[in-house]
């Protein structure tokens, strides 16, 4: 059956043959020579989890969770969501080391994108805590791959490989022990970009988790709110909070009604929202860990606020010493009158070991942009050029429009990755729309 699928940005529709993969399945239905791709919850913004004219395999039945608490490990099916992993781990006083901004991501997706969290400056990305995984190859065999040893090449090609080397069936993850499910949070308001970078650097020293929200509207000065958080120790827990300790955050799930899905996000509403958010009360507080890590998850379908035309997210990383690029990016967006109410700045502490892994030491900026600005295409092309010249790169998980010719420059290990892809998938059975668009398959 032909199904229409979208990425999270709702800007790219793919018509595909949607199937489900079962545990222990070692064969997957191929309709033609357009191959297959795995799909978790479809939270990538572009077309990396869809395959027009081919097969898209949903992984939700790969839902095994098996704890090995004596080793601090958990074996999970790739269809298990981060949300479920968090909830189950907390029962035993554990939590994943790295979680992304939304918990509605599968473990398979987390590996395919080598996701990063608010703690990257201290402990790196998701793949640092994957001790092994089982990969279903295109010839129907299951291969156990590890980060070191004979299978390390295939492991690090799969990490960040956007699902194009095979389907991760299950993975073993290290978990961190936590005393409480609360964080001690500190927030600061900053008036410009220089203040933002300085404050974020200071908080990076002190806190395990840091993130900055940037106001991309108005004068485009780079003002915003920077926050840092550390795990709260048990001795600091109040009596009231002790009753909620190590339980899932209780929060009302909001759904954007159809009436508001007309493209509410525009220049004016962005300025109003940003002004309100910049001036919100700040300070030191205790916050439940899931609420801090996944602030937007309480609004189920917030992406529909951008209307039918959708939006795109543009995320890049640049070396620390090239921070002037941020100023140029803000300037280009101001000239093109592209405003954003969701721009997030973080810092990365190390390069990803994945061949197509996005993180590298430096500043990373993620910008949500509605698609109605007539000048956004030129502005983004110019930003790509500036980022590339500064030695930076774009995040494939957020990509929906990059120039494939930039890929080899941004990802120097691309040729190495392609060789491994050709070896493990000689018939080109793993394909996706993004893979074809960027000439990865």
């Amino acid at each position: 059956m032909i199904t229409r699928l979208y990425g999270w940005g709702n800007s790219l529709a793919s018509h595909t043959y949607l199937e489900m993969i079962n545990p222990n399945d070692n064969c997957f239905p191929l309709k033609n020579d357009r191959g297959a791709i795995a799909r978790g919850l479809g939270r990538s913004y572009g077309d990396s989890a869809a395959n027009s004219g081919g097969v898209t395999l949903e992984t939700q039945l790969l839902n095994k969770i098996e704890f090995k608490l004596d080793e601090g490990l958990v074996v999970v099916g790739s269809g298990v969501t981060i949300q479920k992993l968090e909830a189950e781990s907390m029962k035993y006083g554990y939590f994943p080391y790295v979680v992304p901004g939304t918990a509605f991501v599968t473990v398979g997706g987390a590996i395919a994108s080598d996701i990063h969290g608010k703690s990257h400056h201290k402990i790196g990305s998701f793949s640092n805590f994957v001790t092994e995984m089982t990969l279903l190859l295109s010839d129907g065999t299951f291969r156990r791959i590890l980060p070191r040893g004979d299978t390390s090449n295939l492991f690090w090609a799969t990490v960040g490989g956007m699902g194009l080397t095979g389907i991760v069936v299950e993975a073993t993850l290290k978990l961190q022990e936590i005393e409480t499910s609360f964080l001690q949070v500190e927030e600061h308001r900053v008036k410009d970009l220089d203040g933002m970078l300085t404050t974020l650097t200071q908080l990076n020293e002190k806190y395990l988790y840091t993130v900055a929200w940037v106001d991309l509207s108005g004068k485009y000065k780079g003002r915003g709110v920077v926050s840092g958080a550390n795990h709260l120790e048990l001795k600091h827990l109040t009596r009231k909070l002790k009753t909620e300790n190590l339980t899932v955050a209780r929060q009302r799930q909001l759904v954007i009604p159809k009436l508001l899905r007309f493209g509410l996000v525009n220049g004016l509403t962005t300025r109003i929202f940003n002004s309100f958010w910049f001036h919100k009360p700040l300070g030191k507080r205790i916050q439940q860990i899931q609420r801090y890590m996944h602030p937007l998850d309480s609004v189920t379908n917030w992406n529909t606020l951008y209307g039918k035309s959708g939006f795109l997210q543009h995320q890049f990383v640049i070396p620390f010493e090239k921070s002037y690029v941020m100023r140029e990016v803000l300037s280009r967006l101001k000239d093109a009158r592209c405003s954003s109410s969701l721009t997030v700045l973080k810092s990365f502490g190390e390069d990803s070991k994945g061949m197509l892994g996005f993180p590298m030491q430096g500043w990373t900026l993620a910008i949500d942009l509605p698609l109605h600005s007539p000048h956004s295409s030129e502005a983004l092309k110019e930003i790509d050029r500036i980022v590339m010249e500064a030695g930076g790169r774009l995040y494939l998980t957020k990509d929906s429009r990059m120039n494939p010719e930039h890929l080899a420059i941004m990802y120097p290990r691309l040729a190495e990755w392609k060789e491994i892809k050709n070896n493990c998938d000689p018939n080109n059975s793993w394909q996706s729309d993004q893979g074809r668009r960027l000439r990865l398959c």
């Binding site: 790219l12 793919s14 595909t16 959708g310 698609l371 929906s400 429009r401 010719e405």
Partner: protein, 247 residues
């Protein structure tokens, strides 16, 4: 596939020397790394430097009457990569005085109808495998009602137009959209030297309407747009009255 900004990555033009096709391509939103395949006769003499926003241009010399070669070439292009848009822009106008001449009669029908119908079917099949894509067929209002001066040409356009309408029905649910462009008289190299008919337009106006129609995935579009009403009326006229107009 189109990227999230609606920019085309790859376009194929059958009749790459067509003035209309060139004008349409100039107005299309193209990605930085777009690739354009232009197929046609004597195409290698085309100078397209600095055209089409720096897209990579692939010129392919081909005679559309050689249906087997055309089939092989189209299949190889579709095997290489997905194609986002195919423009059918080749046709022979023929001669008003010699339109019933046996050779010219066959040539016009064979070239404009038969070869295009085959190629259209093949392209549509490939796009339906992709489950995405758009096709633009440059038809003509000459196919809407036969005129004394060009009814053989009109017949050939009517035939391929009808095939295209059938394919539109076939494509429902397959995410492949076929747009039929029915221009009136357009001032191009093909009509050079001919007295312009009423409602004549130029290539740039046609291109603008075509690009807009592709963006909106329109089924049928006339140039100028009001020709839709004009043709509706003309088709209803009794033959005796139409002949008076068709002098």
């Amino acid at each position: 596939m189109l990227n999230s900004l609606g920019e085309f990555q790859s376009i194929l033009v059958l009749g790459g020397k067509s003035d209309l096709a060139i004008s349409i391509l100039e107005g299309m939103p193209l990605s930085d790394s777009a690739e354009i395949h232009l197929l046609g006769r004597n195409i290698l003499s085309l100078n397209l430097e600095d055209k089409f926003k720096g897209a990579k241009i692939n010129l392919v010399e081909i005679d559309f009457k050689d249906v087997e070669e055309v089939e092989a070439k189209l299949k190889s292009i579709f095997t290489g990569s997905d194609i986002d848009l195919v423009i059918f822009a080749y046709s022979i106008l023929g001669s008003e005085k010699l339109q019933l001449n046996k050779e010219l009669f066959s040539e016009v029908l064979f070239n404009n109808f038969y070869t295009q119908a085959l190629a259209l079917n093949l392209v549509n099949t490939e796009m339906c495998k992709q489950l995405h894509g758009q096709i633009l067929l440059i038809s003509s209002v000459a196919g809407m009602r036969p005129r004394k001066r060009n009814f053989v040409y009109g017949t050939s356009k009517f035939g391929v137009d009808l095939i295209a309408q059938g394919l539109q029905k076939h494509n429902v649910g397959k995410n492949v959209f076929l747009t039929i462009l029915r221009p009136g008289f357009v001032k191009t190299r093909m009509t050079e030297g001919m007295p312009p008919a009423p409602f004549a337009t130029d290539r740039n106006s046609v291109a603008k309407i075509a690009v807009e129609a592709l963006k909106k995935r329109k089924r049928i579009v006339y140039t100028p747009k009001y020709l839709l009403i004009v043709m509706f009326i003309l088709k209803l006229l009794p033959e005796k009255i139409f002949r008076i107009i068709d002098r």
